[in-house]
């Protein structure tokens, strides 16, 4: 069993072939441990979203290995991959992807119902997840259209966090939210990671990436730099007094 929640080894993704081939990712390696929030930054077209999709099993690498919770995604059948995505990975997208015909609670409960845990238990889990992100019981039974943007995004995050998942993938999760709501989204992700999840956050906003433990910089599909992990308190202390 890998010590990492997510491991990318030398991952390459090429779209098309021959002269028309586009190298979206070129030999990217990255690991996420439990408790870690990693931000990926880079200009448009640098491969950020491809990286997230490959990490989440939504897209397959042309070469290289993607391991989630110790399982090599390429070794899985389509059915097994779908089950692993549902059970182990939460996704938060810019456009929320909530189902308009379902209430907030039903949206959050859906992946758990698909897991086969039963309607009552999944509703209970959904309400707990909504409560964790600050969406109260009153809003839980409203439809996405009836919620403000910030609330909708909280529901989307609750859906990504519901159940036992430990890998959260977020692609520009604050979208068009104002600065205050955007920050509360990052606080939620941060709290979830502090509680033991691993988070991969794609953003172009430095202020949001500031919530991560580590920032990885992507350009033309390759990792060009990395802030390295945060120094722990002891290391900071040693640095402060060691002069």
């Amino acid at each position: 069993m890998s010590q990492y929640v997510l491991e990318l080894r030398d991952v390459t993704r090429v779209h098309g072939s021959g002269d028309a081939a586009v190298h979206a990712l070129r030999g990217v390696s990255l690991t996420l441990a439990a408790g870690e929030l990693v931000a990926v930054m880079g200009p448009s077209g640098s491969g950020k979203s491809t990286l997230l999709n490959v990490a989440g099993g939504l897209d397959a690498p042309s070469a290289g290995v993607v391991v989630v919770e110790g399982t090599d995604l390429q070794q899985l059948s389509a059915t097994a991959l779908a089950a692993l995505r549902r059970r182990s990975i939460g996704y938060v997208f810019q456009d929320y992807n909530l189902i308009p015909a379902l209430t907030a609670a039903e949206n959050v409960a859906l992946p758990r119902e698909l897991d086969g845990i039963g309607a009552r238990a999944s509703r209970r889990e959904a309400l707990a997840a909504l409560d964790e992100v600050g969406v109260g019981a009153a809003a839980a039974d409203r439809f996405p259209d009836e919620l403000a943007g910030g609330q909708r995004q909280r529901v989307a995050i609750a859906r990504a966090l519901v159940g036992p998942r430990r890998l959260v993938l977020a692609d520009e999760p604050t979208g068009a939210l104002d600065s205050e709501s955007g920050e509360s989204v990052l606080r939620l992700l941060r709290a979830r990671c502090d509680a033991g999840a691993a988070g991969l956050l794609v953003t172009h906003e430095a202020r949001l990436a500031g919530w991560a433990d580590r920032v990885v910089f992507l350009r033309d599909g390759a990792v060009v730099d990395d802030t390295g992990p945060r120094l722990d308190a002891q290391a900071l202390l040693a640095q402060g007094t060691g002069s």
Binding site: M41, P43, R187, R190, H204, E205, A206, R207, A209, G210, W211, A212, D213, V215, F217, V224, D225, D226, T227, R230, L236, Q239, G240
Partner: protein, 203 residues
């Protein structure tokens, strides 16, 4: 808190001290403690800076020793009328954007694109990584703060967060601008009229 910041903002200590004295007379150590309480030790002051600043303020007629000493023989200072109006004027006047540490960065990048053999993208990336590390530490301090009890300090902290963000955005902008300029597309150096390098004549 002894966090190292990439930014070493030179705070107008003079007006900070005047503002503290508006609350009432204080002696040097009280001023220092209150200054650090107000700014969350973001700009640590040493006691020497406090006394030097007080001496200049006294010379300029903005503060004066308060009559009588406290039991320990410490000199307390208070605002003069001129000090009060100076303080009022400070609060009433918007700050001009003066020389900031970032200007050094602007100069560094401006010279980097015109200096042969310098990898400007590497310069930008090194700065971006350093800025993100700063932002990470500032954000961490912010996350630990108590929104009610640390309100004044949070204000200072967020000011630094937004400045770091602005720098990161500006670096992104510089990089995008470089990408749109073909390699070697930097403006030619202003050559002395007597330049005799044949390659320069071609320009």
């Amino acid at each position: 808190m002894h966090t190292k910041y990439a930014y070493c903002v030179s705070m107008p200590i003079r007006h900070g001290l005047l503002a503290l004295l508006q609350r009432g007379p204080m002696y040097g150590y009280q001023l220092r403690a209150n200054f650090e309480a107000a700014t969350g030790a973001t700009w640590p002051l040493n006691i020497g800076q406090v006394y030097t600043t007080l001496a200049r303020l006294e010379r300029d007629g903005l503060v004066e020793p308060a009559p009588g000493e406290d039991g320990d023989g410490k000199v307390t200072y208070r605002l003069t009328a001129a000090g009060r109006s100076e303080l009022q004027a400070w609060f009433a006047t918007p700050l001009e954007r003066r020389s900031r540490p970032r200007d050094e960065l602007a100069i560094k990048l401006a010279t980097a694109i015109t200096t042969p053999g310098v990898d400007v993208r590497a310069v930008i990336q090194a700065q971006r990584t350093a800025t993100m590390r700063t932002l990470r530490e500032l954000t961490r301090l912010k996350a630990q703060a108590d929104p009610a009890g640390d309100a004044a300090w949070l204000l200072v902290n967020e000011s630094m967060i937004f400045q770091a963000e602005a720098e990161a955005r500006w670096l992104d902008h510089c990089e995008a601008r470089l990408t749109s300029v073909p390699p070697g597309g930097a403006p030619p150096l202003t050559q002395p009229a007597t330049a005799n390098d044949p390659t320069e004549v071609a320009r």
